[in-house]
């Protein structure tokens, strides 16, 4: 409890220190703040008693905040949220160090907001109270909007505004739904309570027609954040315009809030709705995979390419979640962590060459293996991890997501029936082939081939900090931990998978029954039944 609050509040304390301290020491204060947060969380994780026991939720009921509405300061982790919080806390100091040379103006504000951002992300993962979660989830928007709007590229204001409005609209629906479930709890018990477990118990008791709408409203909120096709349009622009570290946190931590929201709220709270809409979401996820991959193929802006590949990868992650069996769910959670590592690292790599060449256009720059061999090796490693090369971390998650989709069948022998099946897996698998293609094309242009450099010495000279041609020690120090993590998780995924498994099973506890119900109700093909389903469940 104390350690969790330390990891949440320490960055905020550091942010105040940054705000009142001198400009010179701002970056080091920020670094210390994020390190302390990571340290507290690591100690907590080290002593975490529930790695393999999902039933034992080490929840701490915090002091009451608004007793009349049942809002409390209660925090606690299960394995999944702890892993995601660790991922965010792990990336924060790397991002801070990564910004040392990129951010030269308004540094105090930058580091201050970055600390606040980190703190609210950890709060969202740690919250055991739905309103507390919402506070963390929603407040991430404020620092991220400012980071993009102040420190971003030429279209930064449009990008920031678009991101804010999309997410804000979505999360208003989510908030209303949370309060609605709280209201149902109030009706059943007579008092307001926003504890997530309590709400989950209440919500699963609702009639299936209600759960359908609860699920749909949650999906509106979380699909924007994931982002799921067709609500993804804010993301590439935001990524393109954000400063490097902003992109890293956006892709690695903030988008995970969307998938985590599905894991924590939408799926377990409304199993009937989840079963009803399973194939619908899966189809959207597959469209996202294929569509984003095709865009990546023709993309010449390296950063936008990675951004779109994020859309595709998270589509796969959603597909794994909505396979609604433990294999897929484990894979999805594992993939959340690993996508955070490899995509974050890719954004950092792109940022490093952008700082040197002031362009991200792969038609202008290329063949950098000759100029920056160290950078090129890291770039190749992370790209291969992102493609899902066996032996690297991306592979395990992708394989499990696809495997889960494959066995998500009517007569699956797993005890977890589903409506997806091999065809979904095959089409989504095409996306992986595309991924290999566009990422290797990116590598081919950027790393290998003839050396192409823009003659942009003016921009070079004006930048405040002159960087060496290849990576400096600081940059290598940023990328090395990420590389180690990618390789280690590629070879040793089992401890983490074992830890995730009980949580995944717990989340899916209600699904076999609900999916059976759904399948018995709907004869005919799964897709055709979606439309009929809507009117049917209204009539219930």
């Amino acid at each position: 409890m104390l350690l969790i609050w330390t990891s949440i509040l320490f960055p905020i304390v550091a942010a105040f220190a940054v705000a009142i301290g001198p400009t010179k020491s701002a970056k080091w204060t920020a670094f210390a703040g994020t390190l302390a947060s990571l340290g507290a969380l690591t100690i907590f994780a080290w002593n975490f008693p529930a790695w393999h026991n999902a039933e034992h939720f080490p929840k701490t009921t915090g002091p009451s905040w608004i007793p009349h509405a049942g809002i409390t300061f209660s925090v606690g982790f299960d394995t999944v949220s702890l892993l995601l919080a660790l991922l965010s806390a792990f990336l924060m100091p790397l991002c801070i160090v990564g910004s040392f040379s990129a951010i030269t103006e308004r540094t105090k504000e930058y580091y201050g907001w970055f600390l606040v951002l980190g703190s609210s992300i950890i709060l969202a993962f740690a919250a055991r109270d739905a309103i507390l979660f919402y506070i963390g989830y929603e407040f991430t928007l404020v620092p991220m909007t400012l980071i993009i709007a102040i420190y971003g590229g030429t279209e930064r204001r449009v990008a920031a505004v678009k991101m804010f409005l999309y997410t804000f609209l979505g999360s208003m629906f989510m908030l209303a739904t949370l309060i609605y479930i709280g209201w149902e709890h109030r009706l059943a018990v007579g008092a307001w309570d926003f504890d997530i477990d309590t709400l989950t118990k209440t919500a699963t008791r609702l009639p299936s027609s209600t759960q359908y709408w609860v699920f749909a409203a949650f999906m509106v909120g979380f699909a924007v954040k994931v982002p799921l096709f067709p609500l993804h349009t804010w993301l590439p622009l935001a990524h393109d315009q954000a400063p490097t570290a902003g992109s890293v946190i956006l892709a690695s931590a903030m988008l995970k809030l969307g998938t985590y929201g599905n894991y924590r709220f939408a799926l377990p709270m409304a199993p009937a709705g989840g079963a009803d809409l399973m194939s619908f979401v899966a189809v959207l996820a597959i469209i996202a995979i294929i569509y984003a991959s095709l865009i990546c193929w023709v993309q010449t802006d390296a950063k936008k390419l990675i951004a779109y590949s994020s859309v595709a990868h998270l589509g796969l992650c959603m597909l794994g979640l909505f396979a609604l069996n433990p294999v897929g769910a484990e894979g999805a959670v594992f993939y959340m962590v690993n996508h955070g590592l490899s995509t974050g690292a890719l954004f950092l790599c792109i940022g490093m060459f952008y700082e040197r060449y002031h362009t991200k256009d792969t038609d202008v720059v290329g063949g950098l293996a000759k100029r920056m061999p160290v950078w090129a090796s890291f770039m190749v490693l992370f790209t291969l991890a992102s493609i899902g090369l066996p032996g690297l971390n991306g592979f395990v998650g992708e394989f499990l997501c696809l495997g889960g989709t494959f066995i998500s069948e009517h007569d699956g022998q797993t005890g977890y029936p589903g409506v997806l099946g091999p065809w979904y897996a095959v089409v989504a698998g095409l996306g992986l082939i595309f991924a290999a293609m566009y990422l290797l094309i990116l590598l081919g242009k950027l790393v290998w081939g003839p050396l192409r450099e823009p003659h942009d010495d003016a921009a070079h000279a004006t930048s405040a900090i002159r960087l060496p041609q290849d990576l400096c020690f600081r940059e290598i120090a940023i990328l090395t931990p990420l590389a180690v993590a990618c390789i280690w998780l590629g070879f040793q995924p089992k401890p983490m998978l074992d830890a995730i498994a009980p949580c995944a099973e717990r989340m899916l506890a209600n699904y076999p029954k609900e999916v059976e119900r759904y399948m018995s109700q709907s004869a005919g093909t799964p897709l055709a039944s979606i439309n009929g389903k809507t009117s049917e469940s209204r009539g219930e």
């Binding site: 009451s64 905040w65 608004i66 007793p67 009349h68 509405a69 809002i71 309103i131 919402y134 506070i135 929603e138 407040f139 928007l141 404020v142 909007t145 400012l146 709007a149 102040i150 930064r156 204001r157 920031a160 505004v161 804010f164 409005l165 804000f168 609209l169 208003m172 629906f173 908030l175 209303a176 309060i179 609605y180 709280g182 209201w183 109030r186 009706l187 007579g190 307001w192």
Partner: protein, 533 residues
């Protein structure tokens, strides 16, 4: 007789303090001594703080019971709320009233002329208006209600005219006055109809009469029309559709510190009057779950009244938000935002006893602090001696006036309902109240409207913080007085601090609403009244 009067008089202690202070500042304003004239706002502040202190001392349960009020605990929360936000509003106005004249006198360009100063009057009217709003809490009958609400409004017409130095002030004041007079006529007509139907001006008797009617064949048409007219008239005070049309013009034309006053005090008074009138009607079916655990359908207000309030709520929030989207003037945008917030607040009225009323007053507190923060930030800066008006004046404000830029951003975040600012908790609590009243549709409307409001509040935060400075904004300087700056910082910090103690504040709002018998269960009430009449 005296014994019967004394608890009522004791309950009026805060108002008496304000009245004495109003007379005092009106006289002291004529003093030749510059120091005394400069101290007027602080005397006003002291009086307001003293009146806050007087409330818990005098507003005891015994006194409130003895005074035979309709809502015996309402004043315990509303009076400190008015006076507390009033203190901040005074700080906003420091240095603005009589500014040109005081500057000329200080430079020796002209001699002090007591016939031309208005500062004393301004603060006297300021106090009288707040006093009127406080008096509403003690209202026992329609006449008192009418006098109190007019006491809120009449000084504001003059404050708009004399609070600043521009020509637009007069124009705004005239507009405000004529439209205000029209609204007064509307609700006075409503009083007449209500009196005609119930035969009494006393709230408690009206309540009994309406209870008897509803136990019979339902509340009669005359009374319903009367109540609807009263509500429509009061819509002017709370800037709700269909009486909202004056808001942008008057808010823009009035001096900024008076605009802040208009956005809060008449609104609080209007809502208090509405709560009183609707309490005469009563919200029925308030107990959600009876002793046997069976859910009782919530019927709330009688259908015609509820339907009208429902329409007013939806139209007000939608028109307010859409209007605000289209503005290029900050003050007009804030005027429309004030309209939109009234729409949200009506949710509380519809939800009614007692969760809705709590939520209403808690939201008013939140709204008072956050909207004052934005107006204070605007009042703390000026361009070539003129008020800030357009967004282009604010572009890049952060470079020259970082604190004010941040305060604008904080107030915008709070107004849009971003956690963890106080506006978020206000909104959550309103939604909770609306859910308790089974008003899903209204919650959905409010949610969609909040999402729309994100568009323009974001502008209020992004333009000062991020936009590059324009030629106009280069000329922005801070006003000579530091007090608006301090008020902005206090309000800005308040939006965060108050959410930390939101539980306590809601508890206070709850205790003031809960002890009041606002709920009319027709069958229970009708029987004893039928025997007494």
């Amino acid at each position: 007789m005296i014994e019967a009067m004394s608890p009522r008089l004791i309950l009026l202690a805060p108002e008496m303090i304000l009245f004495v202070a109003a007379v005092t500042v009106a006289i002291l304003g004529l003093s030749k001594n510059h120091g005394i004239r400069a101290s007027l706002p602080f005397i006003t502040c002291a009086a307001l703080i003293a009146s806050i202190a007087a409330v818990p001392l005098t507003w005891t349960n015994e006194n409130a019971q003895a005074a035979n009020l309709l809502l015996p605990t309402l004043g315990r929360f509303v009076k400190p709320l008015l006076a507390g936000v009033g203190v901040l509003l005074v700080l906003l106005s420091v240095g603005s009233v009589d500014r040109k004249m005081e500057e000329s006198v200080a430079r020796g360009r002209m001699a002090f002329d007591p016939q031309r100063v208005v500062r004393g009057e301004f603060y006297a009217f300021f106090l009288l208006s707040i006093m009127g709003a406080m008096l509403l809490c003690n209202a026992q009958d329609l006449i008192w209600l009418f006098l109190a609400i007019e006491l809120v409004s009449l000084p504001t017409y003059i404050m708009v005219a004399i609070g600043g130095s521009g020509n637009r002030n007069q124009e705004a004041a005239v507009k405000y006055f004529f439209l205000g007079a029209m609204s007064t006529a509307v609700f006075l007509y409503g009083f007449a109809l209500l009196y005609g139907s119930t035969g009494s001006l006393q709230f408690l008797e009206i309540r009994s009469a309406l209870a008897a009617q509803s136990a019979g064949s339902g509340i009669d048409t005359l009374a319903t029309i009367g109540i609807v007219l009263i509500l429509l008239g009061l819509c002017f005070k709370i800037t709700a559709v269909p009486m909202q049309f004056y808001a942008p013009d008057v808010y823009e034309g009035a001096p900024t510190h008076v605009t802040a006053f208009l956005a809060f005090v008449p609104k609080t008074a209007g809502f208090t009057a509405m709560v009183l009138i609707l309490s005469c009607v009563g919200w029925s079916g308030h107990t959600l779950i009876d002793t046997d655990g069976i859910r009782i359908p919530y019927t709330g207000l009688p259908t015609p009244i509820a339907a009208i309030l429902w329409m007013i709520a939806i139209l007000t929030m939608t028109l307010g938000n859409i209007g605000a989207l289209l503005q290029s003037s900050v003050k007009r945008m804030l005027a429309y935002s004030s309209v939109a917030h009234s729409g949200y607040l009506i949710l509380g009225l519809i939800a009614g006893a007692t969760a809705g009323i709590e939520a209403l007053y808690f939201y008013l507190l939140a709204y008072g602090v956050m909207t004052t923060a934005s107006f204070a930030a605007l009042a703390a800066i000026e361009r070539r001696g003129e008020e800030i008006n357009s967004f282009s004046d604010l572009a890049g404000l952060r470079l020259r006036h970082p604190v004010m830029a941040w305060m604008l951003a904080i107030s915008a975040a709070s107004l849009v309902g971003m956690p963890p600012f106080i506006g978020f908790f206000g909104k959550i609590y309103l939604f909770i109240a609306a859910f308790e009243a089974d008003q899903f549709g209204l919650v959905l409307a409010a949610v969609l409207n909040s999402a729309i409001s994100g568009l323009y509040y974001l502008k209020l935060a992004i333009v000062p913080l991020v936009a590059p400075p324009s030629a106009r904004s280069e000329e922005v300087t801070s006003v000579p007085s530091r007090w608006p700056f301090i008020a902005a910082v206090v309000c800005g910090v308040g939006t965060i601090f108050l959410s930390a103690i939101a539980g306590t504040l809601i508890g206070a709002a709850k205790s003031s609403a809960q002890a009041s018998p606002m709920v009319l269960t027709a069958s229970q009430e009708a029987l004893p009244t039928a025997s007494t009449h």
